[in-house]
Point group: C2
Chain length 409, copies 2
């Protein structure tokens, strides 16, 4: 019935979908609970009281911080990887009833506690072992740790298929791609594109980039992230690692993977199809969105982040990635195309180089150059064979790291 | 193996996916073969020789044009709705072996010929009957005809559910939304947004719009379409009709449907979720993309249209829809919210008003005003009850059309 025809407000009221009540809380294991992603997870969990129960948390070194996390999340078990952190963890948990443990085996135990979803958010190669263990046990794993796929992508995916494990990408780019894919078969994908904000050096000259300081490289315009990821972003190495991840995760061949620079960080990933369709995954640059997507999957939940308001934003801009000024991306793409152990070596060499840059031992421009030299110096047949398991991946990781250290010495 | 590390080209070569060979050609019934969508269908079909077989074609008045279509598509049966076109159709098909027939029953027969997919692309209420027949017969129907859903959305969807018919949206906006939805449940959708190019009057004053000529209204900046749709686009009535379509097609309530102006016509539809994710369906403004998507669904095929190259485009802009300058959109949204027979009446009144404008009998500004007056004048309880079938929908259509004609007289 139309009683009064006329103008309606430009913005109709948005009704919120009532959260579908779960029968029982979803049990989570959170590996990397004290890190940037782990903290955002806690924020999202706090948004939906009663919806989640935390079976276990694991952290790297800081026992006191991990104890605070465990208490905040009402976790049953807390594991700190570095035994030196055990004292603080134990002290922090005194009288709480939360179990405390330390060492790599304890982190593995945290990964294998009975849970519906394992959040893998330990930064660096340290996350590889526990994540692989959860995958091999057939768990559903939300992957924020890039190294698992970059270091041992083929082995992880094969193990996941065998064990019936489901991988949910928690990185903003891969999460966007996962959502954009819907239920489609990867064979129908023509081109998969990952966006790059361009980082703090997007408009800098090659020379200025080469001489950038850690402070300059850490000043990311859009994202608040850990220091390693932020440095990777500044040189676009991050995008190279993400292309490698996407290759393994979605089964898309290297020549169908692309990077486009998009300074606003609203569009995170795009999938093009043969008919000319292009499906984009967007969100505000806030990790709570992909985290909430993974935590609630296949349902949805509020994350505290609103969808981008495109009319308020006004415009989204795009430019090609400049491999002259950002050679790290080119080197990563070569490693992706080379395959085998090259991505593993790339990642290991990069970890050491970024640490050396943050310690002011090398300039920013040296990171890509030395990573390239490290991989070039490795014996293709013997040292860069495709890793079949974690041990082989860690072996390549170790060799590449040693070579990089030698270059740095 | 990494043999040579260094730069790679900015644009990696794009390998084309080999078309998956079908076991037998997909059989199509094309209703509205001589129109704008029908012609684009023919172009897409020509792109994949042997992939499709055309069971039937149907057209409105032009028997000679329909005969040419039937020959080009190697159709088995051709039906012209207007019996006056039969002579030309018969003459055009002489000696070809293509069956010719005329009248509404013949069009219905074309819709019901054995086919895997019925393309419903007859403009206006004339498409309602044959489309409804195909839906009731449980066929898979690619819908380019807006009126089917606008006039009788609830009845069509109910019939489709009962008959097990699948509807594939062929409109660029709804096709983009359909692709962006993937396999998700409509209940998880927070807001569904349809974009509007803003048409030729996007930056015009209200007064200048009200006095626009048919030539000015027909000069759409991005799309080449039939005249009725182009006029609807100029006043944003088109977007109102599309919101109504989306409401029925996707089961999204009126208060979760929005319009945003996007002059480049690259993003066609967006779906926002509670966690802040926003999935966008993009494509160049070329009907061959949604057509190819529907024709090949659930597979994919090349359409002759490349996915948008965002880096080449540089930017995408967005602005709020201005209901003061484009009152037709506001009136359509009111009809959507009112429900029942209001959308049916809106559509009927608009058809007559657009024809009167094209015939220079009324000004552009009169279209929305008279449509609003027509619906307001109708008796809510008696004349605007929700149509339960085609007959009831056509009855409301007739009454609203008569009232509009009286206003025009």
């Amino acid at each position: 019935m139309v009683t009064k025809l006329g103008l309606v407000p430009a913005e109709p009221p948005r009704s919120r979908r009532a959260l579908r009540p779960d029968l029982r809380p979803k049990r989570l294991a959170i590996l990397g609970a004290t890190g940037s992603i782990g903290r955002s997870c806690a924020q999202v969990i706090a948004f939906a009281p009663g919806r989640f129960a935390v079976a276990s948390v694991a952290g790297g070194r800081d026992g006191a911080a991990l104890a605070r996390c465990a208490i905040e999340l009402n976790a049953e078990f807390a594991a700190v990887a570095d035994p030196a952190g055990y004292g603080d963890l134990k002290a922090g948990l005194a009288g709480t009833g939360v179990e405390a443990a330390a060492g790599p085996e304890a982190v593995r135990e945290a990964a294998l506690r009975e849970a519906d979803l394992v959040v893998s958010a330990i930064v660096g190669a340290a996350g590889l072992g526990p994540t692989f263990a959860a995958v091999a046990a057939g768990r559903t794993v939300a992957l924020a740790n890039k190294e698992t796929l970059v270091c041992a992508g083929a082995a992880v995916m094969q193990t996941a298929r065998r064990a019936g494990a489901m991988l949910l990408p928690m990185d903003s780019e891969h999460n966007a791609l996962f959502q954009a894919m819907g239920a489609r078969e990867p064979e129908t994908i023509e081109v998969m594109t990952i966006t790059a904000s361009g980082g703090p050096f997007r408009e800098w000259s090659a020379e200025r980039i080469a001489n950038a300081t850690p402070e300059e490289a850490l000043a990311h315009p859009n994202w608040v992230m850990g220091p390693k990821v932020t440095i990777d972003s500044a040189g676009l190495m991050n995008k190279g690692l993400e292309l490698i991840e996407a290759h393994f995760l979605f089964g898309v061949p290297p020549d169908r993977l692309e990077v486009v620079v998009h300074p606003q960080s609203i569009v995170h990933g795009l999938i093009a199809f043969a008919d000319g369709s292009l499906i984009a995954g967007m969100a505000s640059p806030d990790m709570r969105t992909p985290i909430a997507h993974c935590l609630a999957y296949p349902d949805r939940m509020a994350s505290g982040v609103r969808p981008p308001d495109l009319a308020a934003l006004g415009r989204l801009t795009f430019e090609r990635a400049d491999l002259q000024r950002f050679p790290a991306l080119g080197i990563a793409i070569e490693a992706l195309r080379a395959g085998g152990g090259a991505p593993t070596a790339l990642n290991a060499a990069n970890e050491i180089a970024v640490a050396a840059f943050l310690a002011r031992r090398i300039g920013f421009g040296e990171i890509a150059r030395l990573v390239g030299r490290t991989i070039s110096a490795m014996d293709a047949a013997e040292e860069l064979a495709a890793p079949q398991d974690v041990a082989q991946a860690l072996a390549i990781h170790h060799i590449a790291g040693e070579r990089m250290k030698r270059l740095l010495a």
